[in-house]
Symmetry: C2
Subunit: 137 residues, 2 copies
């Protein structure tokens, strides 16, 4: 039997986006700036993050459908379905979101980022630096 | 109280890397090719992945220390510690690994990738396409 693991959120998103209908389909459609609000318990781990840093925020889409393996095009039902692992759909077996953003400001355990396509109250599970092409791989 | 979430692995890594001592510190030090072996239950979600595709494999470092918030330089103890969220250390509160790789071959539920710095038997929790700069964000 496969072992399972417990994800413990380290913070949450504070955003004007309140529902999936409001969320942009793609980030270039204008995702808004947002705040990342971290738990005091992980604050020490944030101490080297600063304005200007490019980071990858990993979220858990807590309102996702985890049973989805095939994604239906939203606009055109004549187009074929796509295997979920070839898409960025939030509906997937482990609904992790990867968001590459730039830090705009920091204020203790609160970090403002330039744009984020995640709903208000979305749990944050990790933050990683963007390290350039080589170490990104 | 913060809600927690259950990650259910969708497969595992098959690699010649058996221990963290053998693993390269950085991918350009020569991470080996590896196989991603997926559970039959998610096979339908893989159907549009093909050789040549660039993907991000998300793993769960099941041998990580989840209590780490400050990372000590491995080689030079005079250098200062770094907040874990400014590093790619596998030791972190939610030990997720992001691996940007290229698919070399597919064989049913098995997918070979060009190089992967993850140990043999590491659980795989998600796969996403690399979509270019705009949609990466």
């Amino acid at each position: 039997m496969t072992r399972q693991f417990l994800v413990r959120p380290i913070g949450r998103v504070e955003s004007v986006l309140r529902s999936r209908d409001e969320a942009p389909r793609q980030p270039d459609e204008g995702a808004p700036s947002a705040w990342l609000v971290f738990d005091e318990s992980v604050r020490e781990g944030l101490r080297d993050l600063a304005a200007g840093d490019e980071i990858i925020v990993v979220t858990w889409f807590d309102r996702a459908d985890r049973e989805v393996l095939l994604v239906h095009p939203r606009d055109d039902h004549n187009r074929p379905e796509t295997g979920v692992f070839s898409t960025r759909s939030p509906d997937r077996p482990n609904p992790l979101g990867l968001h590459r953003v730039t830090i705009v400001a920091t204020d203790g355990p609160r970090i403002q980022v330039d744009r984020l396509e995640a709903l208000d109250e979305t749990p944050i599970v990790d933050v990683k630096p963007v390290l350039g092409d080589v170490t990104e791989r």
